[in-house]
Subunit: 180 residues, 2 copies
Amino acid sequence: MSSTEAIRVGPGFASEFPGAVASSAEVLANVVRTTTELLNEVQRRRAAIAPVSASAFQALAVIEGAGEALPSHVIADRLLVSTASMTSLLDTLERRGFAARRPHPNDRRKILVEITDDGRLVVDQMLPVVHAAATEAFSGLTETERKLLIDVLTRVRGQVSEMAASEPVPPKPRRKPKRA
Amino acid sequence: MSSTEAIRVGPGFASEFPGAVASSAEVLANVVRTTTELLNEVQRRRAAIAPVSASAFQALAVIEGAGEALPSHVIADRLLVSTASMTSLLDTLERRGFAARRPHPNDRRKILVEITDDGRLVVDQMLPVVHAAATEAFSGLTETERKLLIDVLTRVRGQVSEMAASEPVPPKPRRKPKRA
DNA sequence: TATTGTTATACTCTATAACTATA
DNA sequence: TATAGTTATAGAGTATAACAATA
């Protein structure tokens, strides 16, 4: 049973890491921890329905949500994985009978990935579970807080996007404190 | 280049998933996406220093942060992994020379995992990078917003903790819409 | 009996590099 | 030349079950 108090940095943080912002370090730690625990719980509930991995479910949800067969690289883009990883993931989905490849009618380099009836069944059973888990997880927030949270996260995502596009500035080195 | 607009659910959500809250589904999607992109960027920066996996770094940071050698299961608890996975992770860390096992002086069932000088060097180099990334990622928020975000995340974590402790309520089934 | 850690086993995810086919 | 996908290769992470040693 992990405690549900906020994760905090120690009092020496500011002098130990010059230039770093303590509350930002704390936000990082807390957002990662919260997301991890949330995903673990969602995965636990999905697993009760069928043994499908998170990535496999995500891929199925993308295809089903699109309402049409999609080229492999489109799914790879949405899942943030390489095309080679996507090939492997599609192999798994096909072996399990949840998706199928078929040739693209116009462009012979491409394939189209379609979801099967079995795959659709999995998505139909799992989506309500996922949405119910989300509803329960965020039921302690007001509608206003949820809207605000989405807005804040989106701003952060824009900033991260810029960071990914540029070389990072070398941070100031750690100043190690004395230790018992 | 993924867009940095907020992830939204479609207009038919409410009727398609009775009982589910749209903004909660949106928070889930956005928090997972933001965290994933953030972790990818942090990992990219860490990888520029040394080829250490996220889990390996986390384990090293836990030991270093404790300021003393720790039993294996304590580290496993903090990383939310099984003890068997921890054994595997420790094998990797030991092989790379970043950590070492030694017998517990009082309890012969236990081992103590200590960080080596090389491991300490890795942590000392990576922590400033991680904190700098966090500082940059959340620089678009005010200090008040960061405090608020930590508070909100902590409340969510408490709720998730309760969810993990009880059997989930079966959600209402999906009501599939017509599709073109 | 309960706790700690390891072994055995197996599977998934992921990436990079090299390659083929097609546009 | 650029794009789409596969193959080959490799490594990491993770879990469950069975087990040994110790408390």
